[in-house]
């Protein structure tokens, strides 16, 4: 877990971070994120109450790992914000729980942190990508995607990933952009398992 020279946020400094957190707000985002991940990324089919209870358990375990046992250490150099760090730990924790049943490979925390920080680095445009883009575009249309969704799809498949850049270009509000992303996400989730012949 890091070289000898790695400096982690610990002790008093970590406690100050802990005290500065708006727990209710963070808890809400963690809960939604975990439920989304379990339901849509890992296909966990449970009743809402059970999923919510799983989310609470995961949050509690992750808090213990960070603040009590200290087995998940925050390195500000690789992960500048606490928000990215804690969500990285959650992702790693969920992934590792699933990998223990040999469905997925284990992701060490450093990689998860790095992954969290290096988002939005897609560079499409291979022939396969262009073909796939066209096929998915048509599927989305068939699924009833509106012009906004298709436009955002085009931006994202052209490698423009940051929602703030897309919405500035389209001249729409943050909440409109969020709605479009949510609708688009639900449709692309359904297409993940489709066998595209390219």
């Amino acid at each position: 877990m890091g070289s000898d020279s790695t400096i982690y946020v610990k002790g008093e400094e970590l406690f100050q971070v802990f005290q500065s957190i708006d727990w209710e707000d963070l808890y809400l985002r963690l809960e939604a994120f975990i439920i989304y991940t379990l339901r849509y990324k890992y296909g966990v089919e449970k009743r809402n109450e059970q999923l919510q209870s799983n989310a609470h358990e995961i949050i509690s375990e992750v808090m213990d790992l960070i603040f009590a046992s200290g087995t998940r250490n925050w390195n500000k150099e690789t992960c500048p914000s606490f928000n990215s760090f804690i969500f990285g730990v959650v992702k790693s924790h969920i992934n590792n729980s699933f990998s223990s049943s040999k469905k997925h490979s284990t992701i060490p925390i450093e990689d998860v942190q790095h992954e969290t920080e290096k988002r939005y680095s897609y560079k499409p445009h291979s022939l396969d990508d262009n073909k796939l883009k066209e096929l998915v575009f048509n599927e989305l249309k068939d699924m009833g995607a509106d012009d906004d969704e298709l436009l955002v799809f085009e931006y994202m498949t052209d490698g423009i990933m940051k929602p703030e850049n897309i919405r500035a270009d389209l001249g729409i509000s943050a909440s409109e952009m969020n709605n479009i992303l949510r609708r688009l996400n639900r449709k692309t989730l359904k297409l993940r398992n489709k066998n595209f012949d390219i």
């Binding site: 406690f15 802990f18 727990w23 209710e24 707000d25 808890y27 809400l28 985002r29 809960e31 939604a32 994120f33 439920i35 989304y36 991940t37 339901r39 849509y40 990324k41 890992y42 296909g43 809402n48 919510q52 609470h56 949050i59 509690s60 808090m63 603040f67 009590a68 928000n83 990215s84 969500f87 988002r119 897609y122 499409p124 396969d128 990508d129 796939l132 883009k133 998915v136 994202m156 498949t157 990933m161 929602p163 943050a174 909440s175 969020n178 992303l181 949510r182 688009l184 996400n185 692309t188 989730l189 297409l191 993940r192 398992n193 489709k194 066998n195 595209f196 390219i198």
Partner: protein, 140 residues
């Protein structure tokens, strides 16, 4: 849930990640998502408040415990050095020092204390004051 085709999977990852990023940073979206999934937001708010308070309390207690333990260790090490340096006077000197740090506490048979006894005794005194006293003794 994920497709077995890696290329297709990578292609779709961007939409997943963009939405995950929203949930990670935007409370309104987190709320909208939970509502869309059929979660009772009012009840959720109540549960979240309760759990986050409990968690906050638990983590604060754990942090204070860790802090106390590290102070005890620090005081213990300083006391060991003090006792070693003042072997002949240790009993009386120690009594005076400890009484400054915990005036109401009766210290008896200090000479017979073993390591565990000293640690136990340190839980009864004002550790910060004792460490200060030991530091002052060290300077004189």
């Amino acid at each position: 849930m994920k497709s077995s085709n890696n290329h297709t999977e990578n292609f779709f990852d961007r939409f997943d990640e963009a939405y995950e990023e929203l949930l990670m940073n935007d409370s309104d979206e987190a709320r909208a998502f939970l509502a869309e999934e059929g979660y009772d937001l009012e009840e959720g708010l109540h549960i979240r408040k309760k759990i986050s308070k409990k968690m906050e309390f638990k983590l604060k207690a754990q942090y204070n415990k860790q802090k106390d333990e590290s102070l005890i260790e620090k005081a213990y090490e300083k006391l060991q050095v003090f006792i070693f340096k003042n072997r002949e006077l240790a009993g009386d000197e120690l009594k005076i020092l400890l009484q400054k740090a915990a005036p109401a506490y009766q210290f008896r048979n200090l000479e017979k204390l073993d390591d565990d006894g000293i640690r136990e005794l340190l839980t009864e005194v004002d550790l910060i004051k004792l460490i200060e006293e030991l530091d002052n003794q060290d300077k004189t």
